[in-house]
């Protein structure tokens, strides 16, 4: 005997209770603290802050813990919280030229003013699993040296002095910067919105798209002009006092790609820019972002738009992992009603198909 399905409410409650239990895992193992996540899984925290669009290490650590380490779920938690926050205003543009760099490398010049600084990097590590980490080990304290007071100008600015690279567009102080979290996105989208979209975009998606440009789908021959990671000051113009007040400092990674441009009838050949910026230390993300940013400038630079990475509607509509995961995973929701319509239609089509195929053979038999 069939009875209508009921009990969903209790099922949901019990499922969430079980989830909390599974999240905690074996209760004989000490519970992980937010400080442990923030300190020891720092790059995960950086990614969640970046794609979550909220610079708050503690909340990102909480999200990662709550999401059981599922970073897209953690990004989603941070985004949903961010959407509820009031806005007091917009900060002054940060000056990455004044960054206190912890790491700074250029692949275009052997030496640069301020020097190349490797900093904390996986680069040149041999990817051998380290048995010393199994039970933990107190690492040697980092090497220290005298801080140089030499400035670290951006490599693209050095190129810019000779006009070899297109000038970076100057900030227009009184022009509004677009914000796709406050205004619905329309196409064509200008570069401010594109960069915002890419900064929030999924690292994996941008990595794949950036990679595709290197393999020839929208190739624009990039050089890593400079990648820098470090702290920058954030300032806010306080109307009451009439000057910019420092709010604190944040860690950023910036990547400036230098790309070929053949020139056009009106413009001399010069290098062009692709730009990537993200919270924390996020090199893969910023490098991918810079490749895709450059590819998306095809329209502006009069290049043919042929490859996926050059197609802004394609890229921007599919880069957001919170949107993507929601829509892909919504296939889990019941679709009984639509499926029933399709079943009905399919049965009808099959019946018609069988009747149509049966008819001639009957006729043949009669003959």
């Amino acid at each position: 005997m069939y009875v209508a399905v009921k009990g969903g409410e209790r099922a949901i409650e019990n499922a969430h209770r079980l989830l909390a239990h599974e999240r905690r895992g074996d209760r004989d193992v000490p519970e992980i603290s937010l400080a442990q996540v923030a300190e020891q899984l720092g790059l995960a925290v950086d990614r969640v802050m970046g794609e979550g669009s909220l610079y708050d290490r503690e909340l990102a650590a909480l999200a990662i813990k709550q999401a059981r380490g599922d970073l897209i779920e953690a990004i989603f938690l941070v985004r949903a919280f961010r959407a509820t926050l009031p806005r007091f205003g917009v900060t002054e543009p940060v000056d990455t030229g004044q960054m206190r760099v912890q790491r700074r490398v250029s692949s275009t010049f052997k030496d640069i003013p301020g020097g190349q600084v490797l900093g904390p990097t996986f680069d040149y590590t041999h990817r051998l699993l380290d048995p010393q980490l199994v039970h933990g080990i107190e690492p040697a304290p980092p090497a220290v040296g005298e801080a140089s007071d030499a400035s670290t100008p951006r490599v693209t600015d050095i190129l810019g002095r000779d006009g070899l690279i297109e000038p970076s567009p100057q900030a227009q102080a009184d022009a509004d910067v677009g914000d796709l979290t406050r205004e619905p996105l329309g196409f064509p989208a200008e570069r401010d919105l594109r960069l915002q979209n890419l900064a929030r975009g999924d690292e994996g998606f941008l990595l794949a798209l950036g990679y595709s440009t290197q393999r020839g789908y929208g190739r624009n021959h990039p050089f890593a002009g400079e990648i820098r990671f470090g702290e920058v000051e954030v300032e806010f113009m306080a109307e009451e006092v009439g000057f910019a007040v420092p709010l604190g400092s944040i860690e950023l990674t910036e990547c400036q790609m230098v790309n070929q441009f053949k020139g056009s009838a009106t413009e001399a050949p010069c290098f062009t820019r692709g730009y990537g910026l993200a919270f924390g230390q996020s090199e893969r993300k910023t490098m991918s972002m810079a490749l895709v940013d450059r590819a998306l400038r095809a329209r502006e630079l009069g290049e043919d738009v042929l490859a996926p990475a050059q197609d802004e509607e394609f890229v921007m509509s599919h880069s957001d992992n919170v949107q993507a995961t929601g829509f892909v995973e919504h296939l889990k929701l019941p679709h009984y009603v639509d499926f029933q319509s399709e079943l009905g239609l399919l049965r009808k089509l099959r019946k018609e198909f069988e009747e149509a195929n049966a008819a001639p053979s009957l006729q043949e038999a009669a003959e």
């Binding site: 069939y2 009921k6 949901i12 989603f76 985004r79 619905p184 995973e329 009603v337 639509d338």
Partner: protein, 294 residues
């Protein structure tokens, strides 16, 4: 750490105002998709965030809310959304189509006729009826602006040429107020006639795609068809096995592993109402009620 505090019906008043403006514009231009600055909601995109934002923007403290998914008040996502508003807005909730002032739905229109003053809020995954014919938003917006719907008619014609009839079973396109071709959301085409000249206000919210559209009360809604191939409503072979209704949309229930099936109303409130009024189908049993617990 910032402790979250939330406004009535979750969204802040500025956001609600922005959504209401989009709704008013949508009502003024029936069937036109109004872009709006959809927010990130605490449930996933694709799980009703558009409908939830519309409901949050129109809900008042005296409203009575019903939420259905697949016609049923008891599907998990309907329960989840109903609980969300019970918690964040403290409004009365109901399963009764008659009592509700606001009904949020996914994939169905209730069987009982809606009345003036009610609002039906649809959750919409892909608001653009032309999307599967033309993937670019820039193109489809132009096609709507020019009322250039030939592509859709060609698609329907090709169905007829190939199958002898239009092979679209749900999300069957309609023309609203003789102007805009509109996606009715993935409701079965069985429900399409209910949208026409409906006394209730119908609002459609697509959160991920950031679009709101509307059918004002008593507006003409015509399912696209051809003179020689008129729109036909899907017809079931048998009445509901529980309440005997012959005029409702039915779910197919697989009852064993030997191919046995039974067909019951997808609209659970309608089915239970009929059973309570003494109607019986071929396999009627007292419906099991979930024990109250909080």
């Amino acid at each position: 750490m910032n402790a979250p505090t939330y406004n009535f019906a979750y969204l802040d008043e500025q956001t609600k105002r922005m959504i209401r403006r989009a709704i008013l514009k949508a009502i003024a231009i029936p069937g036109y998709q109004v872009p709006f600055a959809s927010r990130e909601m605490p449930m996933p995109y694709g799980w009703g965030t558009g409908g939830v934002q519309v409901t949050a923007a129109i809900l008042g403290p005296t409203d009575v809310l019903k939420v259905i998914d697949q016609g049923s008040d008891d599907t998990t996502n309907a329960i989840s959304i109903r609980k969300f508003f019970a918690k964040t807005a403290g409004v009365t909730t109901t399963t009764s189509t008659e009592v509700a002032t606001v009904i949020q739905t996914r994939h169905r229109i209730p069987e009982a006729s809606l009345r003036a003053g009610q609002v039906l809020v649809y959750q919409v995954p892909i608001p653009e009826p032309l999307r599967y014919l033309e993937p670019r938003e820039t193109e489809t917006r132009r096609m709507h602006a020019l009322a250039e719907y030939g592509l859709m008619h060609v698609k329907l014609y090709e169905d007829i040429a190939r199958f002898g009839h239009i092979a679209t079973a749900y999300a069957y396109p309609v023309k609203v107020n003789a102007r805009y071709v509109m996606d009715p959301s993935p409701t079965p085409k069985f429900d399409n006639p209910k949208m026409d000249n409906c006394p209730a206000l119908q609002l459609f919210g697509a959160g991920r795609e950031k679009r709101i559209y509307a059918i004002p009360p008593y507006t003409s809604v015509v399912s696209l068809d051809f003179e020689d191939h008129p729109f036909t409503r899907y017809k079931f072979d048998a009445p509901c096995a529980l309440c005997g209704a012959a005029d409702s949309y039915l779910d197919e229930i697989v009852t064993d592993d030997k191919g046995s099936r039974m067909f019951v109303c997808s609209d659970t409130d309608y089915c239970e109402g009929r059973q309570a009024a003494g109607h019986r189908g071929s396999q009627a049993a007292a419906p099991h009620k979930e024990a109250a617990h909080d």
